[in-house]
Amino acid sequence: MAERSFKKEVEHLRLGAGEVFRGEGILAITKALLQSGVGYVGGYQGSPISHLMDVLADSQEILGELGVHFEQSGSEATAASMLAASINYPIRGAVAWKSTVGTNVASDALANLASSGVTGGAMVVVGEDYGEGSSIMQERTHAFAMKSQMWLLDPRPNLPSIVDLIEKGFELSEVSNTPLFLMVRIRTCHVTGEFIAKDNQPPQFSRSNTIDPQRQLDKIILPPIIFEQERDKIAKRLPAARAFIAEHQLNERFAGAADEVGIVIQGGLYNTAIRALERLGLADAFGNSQLPLYVLNVTYPLLPDELLSFAAGKRHLLVIEEGQPNYIEQEIGLMLRNAGSAVTLHGAGLMPGFGEYTGTMALDGMAAFVALTTPAGIDAEQVEARYQQQRTGVSDEHLQLLGDNIVARPAGLCTGCPERPLFSAVKQVQQERGSQFHISADIGCHAFATLPPFNLGNTIMGYGFSLAASSAIRAKLPHRAISIMGDGGFWHNGLTTGVASAVYNKHDGILIIVDNGYSAATGGQDIPSFVKPENLIATTREERPDNQPIEAAVRGVGVEWVRTVTTYEIAEMKATLQEALDTDYAGLKVIIAEGECMLNKQRRIKPQLKKRINDGVRTVKERFVVDPDTCTGDHACIRISGCPSLTIKENPDPLRVDPVAYVDNSCVGCGVCGGNAHSAILCPSFSRAEVVYNPNWRDRALRRLRDGVIGTLQRRLDRQQARSAL
């Protein structure tokens, strides 16, 4: 079940011409696709595109009414291949994923698509997860755009600009027979704003109005056609695109008084740049800037004529381009040189040249540019003074104090995560064996096990690649190679890249597949398999009786040793892992570690529990507590758990100084603390409280009996204690 529901918000997608649409970036993007008359949409989840997939999933009713086909693709390659529908036919389509990882996966299909060229507009919406908080390596989608010749749109981050560019983008794609990327940065996906809506356009072709199959030999990827396609790209498609971009002024020029200089900027960075100029007194809140700006809403291809006309008469140009290599700056440099221009070009030297361009970086870069170029019409000294005023510094003494006391908060598994007991078990087996494991980790929440307190995992190669990643190292390890993969990764790539290949190569190692029934790390989207305890997959397709179990899949490609273990049975999990490490069986050993997300379970059963209690039905609620009397504050329990609900508090015992463990009210009673206390022989402090609501006569009678006897004995103990008092 997706963590976030957009059921209410998607109603905005029905707004008609002239109405004001208010909402989040991802919803605006969806609305723009519908306004553009797309015939199909698809994609694969991953931040910041996960919510776009959730929006699409939640808007299936509206999509269905319009006749738009939707698929939740098995991977980005699946999604990219969907775009094949636009090769032969005038059908518009869009797919979405997280870039650049998703683009990597899709690149085979994209390259072929771009070579064939498209008849209907084809758009790939890529969410850029770039910068400090990113969960992926820092690379640019720009490189893919250039290498495959797909156009790259990078709109100014406000909803009207984004919506407009999506609509124009489909026209551009069709005019130039070229698929394109729409790039949205992570904050843009979640920015809120408003725009004036248009009517949705139902696609021309649908189930009720099918299209006659057509075959165009020049769209097939075979020699000698491929070479013709290459010629077509340069001779026809590129000039057509440039002409359209120029004619419709997709890039924007903003005049400024200080026309000796100019700034060339990616559309997506426009707001950040304007804010920096505003703070330096060089722009107002509405974007009226004293420095002329050339805003590239299309960052590939560039338009030499436009650029040279902007540069004409200027002494200095500053290119603000996020990411490296600085492709745009390089190309502009070449344009200027070829045109014999004397303009001095600045870019990655004044700006950091890598990483996400934040407000501070823009401020520093602009101030440095003005100081260096002192353009006529601008009081550079005053700008410098304002810059100095804007700079903030925290004193060294404070920084030291903060540095000593501000703790890192690495990502971890949520309270009640079914993966926690698995990693507790793995860590305990590792401790019992007395040596470190080499573990090939994978993409997904389970990757957090590489962080404290588990510290398990050595490499992450890609989504579903962990088994393949242990294929060479397995021959050099003192223990059987261990790979851990999520169910999401398994279906995305792991089954073929990993399991099938490993069986074929007689891989004598262990694959643990974490199976919680849905794609957890990206926000709870559906996958082909789901776990037994409940049919969790309720978001988009309600109940799915036709599930595709992981066990059947691995047996189908030849795995013989398969164990399915409930993660919450820590002792059994440990025993299974020990068995897999020690068995004589030499083939691939697959452990399916199955467990339901307890937060999901809470969402599912909480209303039921509440109803039962309100209805007067006998109900038992469970949670864990730690006894502060017997807890000695060594926190061994935390080191094999890391549960957010298992925390510390000041020791109530004045003799002891170390904080005691403490289970806070967010505990969902998953039982991992108790299981760990047992299996790792920790301490006698853990206790499970079972609170009975609406007790029946038996509960009440037993309670009276127990309390009577126990109370008497306790009073005796109290008297003894009083006697031993000083």
Partner: protein, 521 residues
């Protein structure tokens, strides 16, 4: 490991230096802030997004255009995350739209709202809090990071230090335990933060607009409004009193100060002996005496004082020894655990902690995993030693030594514990008692011997008693650490600084290899 802190924890009640002078209004730089810029720093799962939505909804209904951005995703899985809002008056929007930023920028934020004090510190660290401009609102409670929690002893941050920096770095700082305010009214922290925001009068909306927003949310309206009002009042106090905010928010722990009274003859005798100790060690020593009288009997407590009295009268050394010797002597064997588990006071506390009603049936399921070693430890010394070595006994005891659940509120479970607790009268003859006593005595002797030569080093060795805690493997690891250090000192004397360094190495890893390496070098 974050920052090994083996020295005694800082006294939490210490006052930090007074606030430095703030720039006066005339010195404030004239920044053309066309929009109101707000940062919300929250932890994953706390609902920072909901607070952002409250502010945005309120602004929207009161003539302001709002833009919010955030980076959800991985950051929310227990990580820290921030939401950024800009509010722009619609009256100023004519034909053109304002260009609002996607990022908060250092030096360019009017209001920073934090759900936790370390996150407030992080906002200062990142430069979002400036004395010229920024009002900082933060709850002062702690939500501990994994590095703090997994520390073998106490790795927790000094929140008073952070709060002091917050006070000195902000134009205005409002900090108190808003989680407690929320809890008192059975609500969530957002409502408390919202109340504090309203009290600052920084946003151009009246209190009624805030309250209306809560009502429009239609969720837990009554409790949210009550929390809002309580927090509003509390925050107002900060408005009128800006210099002593650190006093306004509570200093955490109270120093050790228990009333010392004795009613029995032997109790009075013990008290008289405690009062002969250096003043600063008396409180701890008396706690130790009380602990041991409860653990065993008055004679046992007297033997504790015997040991303290043989040591040099150095206050600091005696403080350390009073604490760690008492804890070691009151080690948690099965009778002790049973004794603590079945107390009426524990039953009451337990019921309160799980919020069970007074007449609600409550089952208490204890998770125990006694090992064969624990059973043998209970036996008379020689029998226990024999049993430990006997395969047959191992098998027999193995029937009991396994993961077990006991329901202490059921007769069967209670009676088992009751009987085991009664075994403490035979404790002195038991194997476990004998072994603990031997190990403890080696440490006490080493401290006493060292105190004659190097008092500072002896204090640090005394502090090594802190390693001795926990159960089974954890306890054995701790004991091994103390033993290794004691043995190393017998080989050659080491300075206080060297012992501190050894202590740090001792907790650098779980298997003790860092300590062994440090001792070998």
């Amino acid at each position: 490991m974050a920052r090994p802190r083996v020295a005694p924890p800082a006294r939490r009640g210490d006052r930090y230096a007074a606030a430095p002078a703030r720039p006066s209004t005339s010195e404030e730089c004239a920044v053309s802030a066309a929009s109101i810029r707000i940062v919300i720093a929250a932890l994953g799962g706390e609902g920072g997004g909901v607070l952002g939505k409250w502010i945005a909804d309120m602004a929207d209904r009161n003539g302001y255009q709002t833009q919010t951005t955030s980076v959800p995703g991985v950051a929310q899985r227990t990580g820290a995350t921030i939401y950024y809002l800009e509010l722009f008056p619609r009256s100023a929007v004519a034909a053109a739209s304002p260009v609002l930023s996607m990022f908060p920028a250092p030096g360019d934020v009017d209001l920073v709202i934090c759900s936790e004090i370390v996150e407030a510190g992080r906002m200062v660290q990142r430069g979002f809090v400036t004395p010229q401009r920024t009002t900082l609102i933060s709850s002062t409670h702690r939500s501990y990071g994994i590095a703090e929690k997994q520390h073998w002893a106490d790795g927790s941050a000094d929140k008073l230090a952070i709060a002091t920096v917050c006070r000195d770095s902000a134009k205005r700082f409002i900090g108190f335990d808003m989680q407690e305010t929320a809890r008192a009214h059975d609500s969530v922290i957002n409502a408390a933060l919202f109340g504090a925001i309203a009290a600052t009068e920084l946003l151009p909306f009246a209190r009624e607009a805030f309250e209306q927003t809560i009502r429009d949310g239609k969720i837990a309206v009554e409790s949210n409004l009550a929390t809002f009002a309580a927090s509003f009042e509390r925050a107002l106090a900060f408005n009128s009193s800006s210099d002593n905010v650190v006093e306004l928010f509570e200093p955490a722990a109270t120093p050790v100060a228990a009333p010392r009274t004795a009613t029995t003859a032997s109790g009075r005798a013990l008290l008289a002996r405690v009062e002969q100790l250096p003043e600063s060690a008396q409180a701890l020593a008396w706690l130790g005496v009380e602990r041991l009288a409860d653990y065993q009997d008055h004679a046992y407590a007297a033997s504790y004082l015997d040991m303290l009295e043989t040591l040099p009268r150095d206050p600091q050394l005696l403080e350390e020894m009073a604490r760690y010797l008492a804890l070691w002597m009151a080690f948690e064997d099965l009778p002790r655990v049973a004794q603590l588990k079945i107390r009426s006071s524990r039953f009451a506390r337990y019921r309160q902690e799980v919020k069970a009603g007074a007449d609600q049936p409550l089952h208490m399921v204890e998770f125990l995993h006694p090992r064969v070693e624990e059973f043998c430890g209970l036996m008379p010394r020689r029998l226990g030693q024999w049993a430990l070595g006997s395969a047959l006994m191992g098998k027999l005891l193995g029937l009991f030594a396994k993961p077990r659940h006991f329901r202490t509120n059921h007769l069967s479970g209670f009676l088992v514990f009751y009987l085991v607790a009664g075994l403490r009268r035979f404790r002195r003859g038991s194997l476990a008692f004998h072994e603990e006593q031997q190990q403890r005595q080696r440490w006490v002797d080493a401290v006493a011997a060292l105190a004659g030569e190097d008092l500072a080093a002896a204090r640090e060795l005394a502090h090594c008693g802190r390693f001795v805690k926990g159960y089974s493997d954890t306890r054995e690891r701790g004991l091994r650490r103390v033993n290794l250090i004691v043995e190393a000192l017998q080989q050659r004397p080491r300075s206080a600084a060297e012992i501190v360094a050894l202590r740090q190495q001792a907790v650098a890893d779980e298997d003790g290899s860092a300590l062994r390496a440090a001792l070998a070098s």
